[in-house]
Subunit: 668 residues, 2 copies
Amino acid sequence: MAMSRQEEEDLVDWLSPLFLGSYAENNELLEKVLVELLRDHVYWRRNIHPEDRPQIPVLAETGPEYRRFVGRMKTELHGLTARLKNSAPFFNPRYIGHMASDLLLPGLIAQLVTTLYNPNHVTDEASPVTLPLELDLGRQLAAMSGLGTDPEREPCAWGHATSGGTIANDEALWYFRAVRYWPLAAARAMRQADFEPGRLGHGPADFPRAPDRELFNLSIDTVIRLRRELMADIDRRLDRRQARRLAEAIEGERVETLGMAEFHLRHPELGTPAVLVPDTAHYSWEKALKLLGLGSAQLEPVAVTERMRLDAAALERRIGELQARGRPILAVVGILGTTEFGSIDPIHEIVAARQRWRRKGLDFAIHVDAAWGGYLASMFHRPDGTLLGRDEMRRGFHLFPSEPVYKAFAALRHVDSLTVDPHKLGYVPFGCGAYVARNRGMTDFISQRAAYVFEDADTIPDAEYERRFRNLGQYILEGSKPGAAAAGAWLSHRVLPLDADHFGRLIAETIRNCEYFFEHIDQLRDELAGIARVVMPFEPDTNLVCLAINPEGNRSLARMNRFGRRLYARLSVGENVDIHSREFFGSRTLVHRHTLGGRAAERLMAELDLDPDTFVEEPDDSGEQADSVFLLRHTLMNPWLSGREEGLNYLDRYCRYLAQLVRHELAH
Amino acid sequence: MAMSRQEEEDLVDWLSPLFLGSYAENNELLEKVLVELLRDHVYWRRNIHPEDRPQIPVLAETGPEYRRFVGRMKTELHGLTARLKNSAPFFNPRYIGHMASDLLLPGLIAQLVTTLYNPNHVTDEASPVTLPLELDLGRQLAAMSGLGTDPEREPCAWGHATSGGTIANDEALWYFRAVRYWPLAAARAMRQADFEPGRLGHGPADFPRAPDRELFNLSIDTVIRLRRELMADIDRRLDRRQARRLAEAIEGERVETLGMAEFHLRHPELGTPAVLVPDTAHYSWEKALKLLGLGSAQLEPVAVTERMRLDAAALERRIGELQARGRPILAVVGILGTTEFGSIDPIHEIVAARQRWRRKGLDFAIHVDAAWGGYLASMFHRPDGTLLGRDEMRRGFHLFPSEPVYKAFAALRHVDSLTVDPHKLGYVPFGCGAYVARNRGMTDFISQRAAYVFEDADTIPDAEYERRFRNLGQYILEGSKPGAAAAGAWLSHRVLPLDADHFGRLIAETIRNCEYFFEHIDQLRDELAGIARVVMPFEPDTNLVCLAINPEGNRSLARMNRFGRRLYARLSVGENVDIHSREFFGSRTLVHRHTLGGRAAERLMAELDLDPDTFVEEPDDSGEQADSVFLLRHTLMNPWLSGREEGLNYLDRYCRYLAQLVRHELAH
């Protein structure tokens, strides 16, 4: 549904104060608030033991050493800013390349100001007042995803900032391994200590002697409860010293202690656990499996559909195959907004598959890599946290959200953990990713100290978690970490809450711009008719669009790719490229033969009028074949893309420029 | 040697412009430069396609939506700064607790300003101009440590920023594993492919059939050369397709592909590799071994001396034991400035031990965790990079550097990699650690893509590394990362080069303050004579000092510890503690029974007049025993500690306050 004139004006009003702006329209606001808070910091300093004599002499600034230093500093700063001025102009609506845009003023200012105070969130001893904000940031993101954050009800979610999405993905696997390997360690230690636990409320009836495969196939929640019950049972049945010994013996049998090699030697019947990811997964997943010693061969890629979404049927087949081969599954990863295409995996199908397989005694953890798409969840929730109906949501769009996309977001509350990057679609500066877990009980399995202190009860009180997270560095992959990044994201969400009426409004505009691009691509197609074929290989799920452009008459994929690279060369930045020479800024990607199914590959080749025999897994030396299709990739996250000038918005102008570029490149 | 009056005045002149200052004396300088560069950014924005119509209406700021948003933003920012004002006042010389102090103005300003441009150093496509600065930061830190950075000479060092020291430590082990496991994978793949390489210049004579233990015990440099030679040989002897197959087969045999479990199953004679760390190592090392799937049981702690330095004799014994038990050694880690005591491990002894063991066919990589002490290396080098003589250095100090400390720093150029944290003794904001490797050839083993492109030569040209590092995210643990942090550290080093005449001067002042504290502790001891015993358990190597204080007549360690905690409660910050109620800010640590050798423990108990039987590994329930000694810990990194008021400097005043506190606590 198109917006009325009034709605458009309202939107401009609403958007106006959010960013500095492409013309830096809000420069006075930014400068005023920043200077005010800088001065506030200055006078804060003076109010801590004001009786102390200032150490720097009042006339210091007149001295030659002082002036030399300031001179050197300014010279170097000038050198730096001179370089910075050839940066990719992320803030500008002409930038539709990588996942970066302008920065939300509240988050930017909060981060800059907090940097002056420089809290370190490794422990609250170095950040007594801001570490709780980071934990609150975790709750904000958890609530946005539909996870429970009420400390009085289990499971209660928790989360924290990371330096980026890669670390959050690593952390997800680190946590899954810690929890899911634990029962095997506990059973072995109990057998060796001849300890017979009482009847526990969760897990197998005969815990110490249950087969390893059964112990591995317990859900995250079950293992958490099982551990608490066992620890309480040990505490009841053994004296303090014996209990401590047994707890140490369990620690000694864990994979974290023994390492992967020795643990699997002791549990030969377990098999090597696989991690299933869609073919579209970011390369950080391969890196994660290498890092953790799981091995990239354990990364089982699952085929994707023609829409670049994980194929639920293929997932089902893959799980069946693994089960038949006796290989356990550590986790299935779904992507919410793939890096290359913005596509949304059917999270609901992954959740449903788990339900089905659980009945057959097979379990796996589910992580959602929502580094890109996590913030889209803000559009799906009312301010009171309830989920909007799909019909209600669709009123604001032409196509969004498709049924599978809607269901994927609605299913987020069932997954075990998520990666969400505030420094992407959260519009805060780089250096802020986040890890969010549905059940904070997972942290019972992570600490650099053995848990000798038992609880009498089989629940852990909220205060214990609160206490625990004050030593944040003990429960996360990183150690010393900037409070400023977390404070920036936290404050941004305070000003623009993560629901459909606030933050979601901003994100909705990116979706609408994408729909506009999608619907107007025909114009570009028509304009280039007879000159080049323009194909959008995948209907966009969210706010990323890819285009392939093949000069008319060309039948070779490799040639088309070379042509695409020439176009990209005019849209890209570089150390030796003057950014002022660029009309627009794009990015590019490759889609490999093995990612596209046979049918999708055929269809795409046909649409582009390319010889399908030039799209092969192993190209020959002819220079005609290629193993991947080169695509221009567009991230449409700047909310001002719809801004018009002489009736044309930035996307119209981009298309016009692209047509001109194609003609120009074909003529030269 | 004491400073002359003139020298003191010169130092104050020199120090004056470096920081904002405890009275924010340099507030005008900071504000002026910051606002200037903010405006410069604003006008930069306006110069990118100035023909575009500004999107935000000129009258936007008068509208009700706009004003509501600004109001909400200000309210939230006020709430944040209200909290921040109860932050630990790191900047103040009264803060001598954790490893944090005031921030160097050049680095602070550079980071704040770069944040406005928001470069992402994952790839130069998102940071065309600042990513090279991060690589230059790596060179600055490498050169400070004495490593070669000339691209024309092998080995050439490289380094990059990390979010903190923990990630840098993880990365060190990740790289070591990649390199040192590689020959075993290559040999196995060659055997299976029946490939016979020609004669190679490095490694064992019969590479494919060399025993795994021999292949594991090759130096980092040897493996790097060996791989290049083999790849060139493969390229010469096989056609393109066969060569690619063999390269893939080698990749397929690597531990990164197979995982730890399967790799060790295929190489049962290798044994589980150990990582040796001193007993004083930071807990992040345990975390690293858990993360990488090596297992914390493979962390072999080595005893430390009474000075809290790694005991070279104990290291030698431990290596011998491991060799006798058939266990290979992945790495030995030395600490340059332990977190708790600032002590400096004898890096030269580790290097010498490796030389000796190499002759016996045993090799290990050496990593130095210089997260804290790395910047001390700046004091040891002249601006031309040459090492200062010890005698020359000692002129500026009373005691520093002791011979072992001097030798440790002089030996840094022989180690394989280092962790250095600019956000600690580099005085830049949190979120900036660094990883530095002596030989950038290690990156030949790390990429998320298999290396199908071979080089004809057995060397890799500089341009190839330059090209490679432009895709930084492929060669490091993290992905998207803030260019602002790296730019801040880089610029700081440009203004204050990392040598004895510049940055080293600042660090030297921290050492002198530590010497002052050390030499004046007798006054505190005398003042409390008959009231409490004050003991400095370890003579400081650098700029950290710990104190134990035992009330006269008390013989129980547990009681002394409880008393120490009461003192600490008056020196610590917290969410519910008004920082204005604090005179000074300290920190605390525990030294465990197993870390202190028997003799050192006895000596310490005697000095404190404590019953040695109350210091035990497993305390009973009496409340008299403890397994560790509670210490007040002081980080003396604020360069203004020597600032005097009425003849007393901050350290004098701290001692006076501490005496008063002891009396007060004893009276209540």
